[in-house]
């Protein structure tokens, strides 16, 4: 029984069957990659997990509890964090503040009227956020306005924000797209390290095979809304159908 159990999920957009009978089981403390052609329904599947979309049918269980019908913030408080395909950060806030907000959410829960003490006096949160910035290698940008960072930096910030929440399940939607090779490698290392240190489960969508193969323990290939195969990286690499439909010559 995995920490995440997706059973028989269907999702239609008008005439388009974006997800058709998806079953997926992610084992605790593993990295599970979901790959597949563009428009296969990968992001849609993630949307169903975090409460952005509600599947037409099927069930999604996290740690034995259903997430369906819960609001996004409730699902997050259950322990699921998500990095988006296009960076979602607090553009008007500084990098440090961006990092602090998830720390607050972790510490105080979904709402806390913490209106009198100053932010500066919240030492625990500050330290945690600073430490995360150092981990993400962006401590020198801490006072920068998040919106004026380059795109790769935004993405790294977002990953950092999700990590600082210490989620139990981390969902990554193309986390290294547009990231420089050096940072991609850093990120891979960081994810590996974090996974080992803290009992964290990761589901990752990626088109960069380097990332997929160096991180994941299992891979599900999604095509036209349905899982094509699920297997270990080695087997996927050699799978003829996957090569043909997705990887192309370059793999």
């Amino acid at each position: 029984m995995g920490i995440l159990e997706v059973k028989g999920v269907n999702k239609r957009f008008g005439g388009l069957q974006a997800l058709g009978d998806v079953n997926l089981s992610v084992a605790e403390n593993t990295v599970h990659a979901i790959i597949g052609p563009n428009g296969a329904g990968k992001s849609t599947l993630l949307n169903c997990l975090v409460g952005k979309l509600i599947p037409d049918t099927g069930s999604v269980m996290f740690d034995g509890q259903s997430v369906l019908g819960r609001k996004p913030f409730e699902i997050n408080q259950m322990g699921i964090s998500r990095v988006f395909q296009t960076p979602e950060i607090f553009g008007d806030l500084s990098v440090l503040e961006n990092m602090m907000i998830p720390c607050f959410a972790k510490r105080d829960g979904a709402f806390e009227l913490n209106a009198i003490p100053s932010v500066a006096s919240q030492k625990d949160v500050l330290e945690k956020a600073e430490a995360m910035l150092v981990d993400m290698n962006m401590a020198d940008k801490r006072h920068m306005n998040a919106a004026s960072m380059s795109r790769g930096d935004k993405r790294r910030l977002e990953i950092g924000m999700c990590l600082s929440q210490e989620p139990r399940l981390l969902l990554l939607d193309e986390p290294t797209a547009g990231m420089a090779r050096a940072d991609t490698n850093n990120t891979i290392d960081l994810l590996k390290q974090i996974k080992d240190e803290r009992d964290i489960t990761i589901a990752i969508i990626e088109h960069d095979m380097h990332v997929v193969f160096s991180l994941s323990e299992r891979i599900t290939v999604l095509a036209q809304g349905t899982p094509l195969v699920e297997d270990t990286p080695e087997n996927i690499k050699g799978h003829p159908k996957v090569r043909e439909a997705y990887l192309g010559e370059s793999a």
Binding site: N38, R151, R156, A180, R181, Y246, S250
Partner: protein, 251 residues
């Protein structure tokens, strides 16, 4: 650090072939931040130039400056396209004389369908590929022509952004991370397309984090770091130069 290219040693600047797109000593600011710090390079007709560098090096800013967008503001320098002074033009004028930019965050216009996004590109002359021909290139778009552009999957949006640029009759195509978020097979497709249009005389500048792929495609490469040019030479030279690759591209 502000490294100005040494023009005397630069084989490229000295070449006799006339430059088609020429950037000369360009400086650009975001408000107070000095980002593009004196950049000069030439692109010849029918050539593919890879513009490389780490996150935040200033690649996007350079492309945006060439495309004459409001931000960053060019404070000094000249940009010539086919003997026309782009530096005196606004972005729509630059577009009418043949400049096309595929922006890094795709910029699919909300509220318009796929087809309308393409039609929009064909309102102002000159008009390039027909919409039908674009659908042939990207069948996925054809299938989704009535869908709202922003609900496309990430990769589909990227296709639309490229298609939109080709829908106009352009002389120079500026691509900002065109492969980002695309499945490997599609990357192969697009690469083929780029080679195809290059054969028809298109001049291309490509910014890409997947440096190896870009360099294999490109004729020449320019490497940026902190807003200045640190290398300008042939693409194969970079592929061969370990040191350069390690220092600026981490590959």
């Amino acid at each position: 650090m502000n490294v100005k290219p040494d023009f005397s040693k630069n084989a490229n600047m000295a070449t006799t072939a006339p430059a088609f797109l020429s950037v000369w000593d360009m400086h650009a600011y975001y408000g107070e931040s000095y980002i593009v710090q004196g950049i000069s390079f030439n692109v010849h007709e029918g050539e593919i130039l890879a513009l490389l560098g780490r996150n935040g090096a200033g690649k996007t800013s350079t492309l945006r400056a060439i495309a004459r967008l409001d931000d960053p503001q060019v404070s000094h320098g000249e940009i010539w396209l086919d003997h026309k002074p782009l530096h005196n033009m606004s972005s729509y004028e630059a577009a009418t004389v043949g400049l096309g930019l595929v922006p890094e965050d795709r910029r699919i216009i909300a509220g318009l369908t796929v087809e309308e996004n393409l039609q929009l590109a064909q309102i102002a002359p000159p008009i390039g590929w027909s919409i039908e021909r674009l659908y042939e290139l990207f069948p996925r778009l054809g299938e989704r022509r009535k869908q709202e552009g922003v609900t496309l999957s990430g990769g589909e949006q990227q296709m639309l952004a490229i298609a939109r640029a080709l829908a106009r009759d352009i002389k120079v195509l500026l691509l900002d991370e065109p492969y980002e978020g695309l499945a490997p097979v599609i990357v192969d497709e697009i690469e083929k397309t780029l080679i195809h249009i290059k054969e028809q005389g298109m001049t291309t500048v490509i910014v890409e984090q997947n440096a190896v792929r870009a360099l294999e495609l490109a004729d020449r490469a320019v490497i940026l770091d902190t807003g200045g040019i640190v290398f300008d030479g042939s693409a194969s030279e970079v592929l061969e130069n370990e040191e350069l690759r390690a220092e600026y591209l981490a590959i």
